[in-house]
Point group: C2
Chain length 385, copies 2
Amino acid sequence: MRKVSVIGIGCTQFGKQNGVGIVDLAVQACGEALSDARVPRGCIDAFYLGNFVSETLAHQGSLAPIVAHRLGLGPIPCTKVEGACASSGIAFRHGVLLIASGLCDIVLVAGVEKMTSAETGAVTEALASAGDADSEMRLGLTFPGTFGIVMRRHMHQYGTTREQVAMVSVKNRSNGSANPRAHFQKCVTMGEILESRLICDPLRLYDCTPISDGAAAAVLCAADLASALTGRPVDVIGSGHATGPATLFEMADLTTFEASVAAGQQAYREAGVAPSDIDVAEVHDCFTIAEIAAIEDLGFVKKGKGGTAIADGLTALDGRLPTNPSGGLLSKGHPVGATGLAQIYEIVLQLRGEAVNQVKGAEIGLAHNLGGTGAVSTVHILRRR
Amino acid sequence: MRKVSVIGIGCTQFGKQNGVGIVDLAVQACGEALSDARVPRGCIDAFYLGNFVSETLAHQGSLAPIVAHRLGLGPIPCTKVEGACASSGIAFRHGVLLIASGLCDIVLVAGVEKMTSAETGAVTEALASAGDADSEMRLGLTFPGTFGIVMRRHMHQYGTTREQVAMVSVKNRSNGSANPRAHFQKCVTMGEILESRLICDPLRLYDCTPISDGAAAAVLCAADLASALTGRPVDVIGSGHATGPATLFEMADLTTFEASVAAGQQAYREAGVAPSDIDVAEVHDCFTIAEIAAIEDLGFVKKGKGGTAIADGLTALDGRLPTNPSGGLLSKGHPVGATGLAQIYEIVLQLRGEAVNQVKGAEIGLAHNLGGTGAVSTVHILRRR
């Protein structure tokens, strides 16, 4: 297998973008990544686009060839991949696989979602399609309900406190306040979180990600060709992609997402590193409790210790493992199909030493993307050269 | 690159399937393919599922991991791929790529769509999302309109007659009358076609595919391992996947789908065969005129000669190149995401010598799948061992 590097990245502003369509968003992020990589469009061998519900919310299918055609990429193979909130983690992985296997030299990967122009009810229904329509979602469980149950169970099983969970939001909102591309760039206090509107007990408004528009992209290249193209390649040293149960009732433990555990183990094995080697991480904090589950599932702390670890500052910007320095989904926003690549965007910035909340001396970074009720997860580990 | 073989196939009944959900359909086709291949589920390394609009019409996203979990495939990577009507041609190609590159040994690929339980208006809107929402589809062009324009242009440019185009439907309906899995199993006469309800001038009802439910699947395996697993492997000798303009106004010639031409050339080159070497073909006849464009774009006849070739019996069951012996989309039905793999299903049956409209001595078969307004196409060439 060949080594693979990231040689270009792009990301739009996240948030409500009136008058900017889904194709425009993807084209913008891809254009930025291509400029950053300084490769001509004719050199791209394939294009992968992660997207969840463009047909439903933006009335646009065939999204990958349409975006590629607008970019002028020529007759290359173009594929949309879908794995709910993990869609663009999957897109990134396919770029890595095709280059690693020698099938391609340079691949453009992107993720996009346009959500704010649809009615709230339509967005809720579209998001619910990430769960199992034949069982839990049919019974009225939506994602705040799902993660509310996970949070309640975590508190019951491990003594995690309401305040510990809220600290995730305090931290990520504070990180996001420095991120010019974040949907929310404003700090929130513990008091504001605990007094914010109840969404689904025990989750409150500031425990939840917003509905956002946005796109992110990366140019991937065979590592042996990367040095000739850019002075600052970032190497992809581990890639994991795994499936788990898609319902709460099939989970062996309501606080553990098996797909995250399996994808993480796969990525660590391939990279030849341990969780303790990670210098900076972007994890899938679709709700505050999800970040706690993630740092446990990825082996940063033992199961059940996530709450105290966050309270002890492990994941703070000046902690041993700064987590979601971008602001995470909670602050940066969560345009579903774009999220996985926006995480990669942040990790690449960190490893280049160009991030706004720069982690000093970061050499190895991890991006963790989760889709549905834990149905699918991708984990990628990147290293500065 | 390693050689790849098909070692198992499955296909549901196509048509209106009341009370059978989208996940059930996919599970049924996959189960049949796995039984046919006689490989234990634990041997599957990855799963690709082609689907177009499950989120919109069946309220189910995360479809690949959900189907895989129901099948008991374990934590393997599962990915939905979307390319409108070419979705499962793309799924098949990804199985081929991952095995060819050595990343996997055995991959399950499937395609599915559940369309008949949604309201007609919702189906029309969902199908229209395969076109460009920012231009032609916003202006009210739907797919019968698109292919009506293509037909009008073909008649104008090449003198193709209304009767020649209708002969595609006479042939495919006749072929489908013998196919027990076809949506329509009834012949239609030239007179019935020409007098059927006008849909979008010059296209009439029997020029159009129906709205169907269905799923199809295949088990792919490294060719060097296939002989140990099955006595009748069929080898994949060429795979093409290409992108073209997604709108009529961007096409250089309204009768030529550039993506089909490019995907065909890629597949022929890889297979080392010419169009004249093909013994049987399944091509994307979403409308009668589309079959004429396809046999031209794939090089079976010169551009403009498709109408006369069909009138001369080239593509008949006893012709030099029997085309759509399954009945094609026109007769078999068109559950969008399942269509590409249903074509592969038929070609594998033909090369095994087990098809209902068996082409005697067929050694090399071709499957051609087209998505959107020519935005994407896949072409696969298979050979009997």
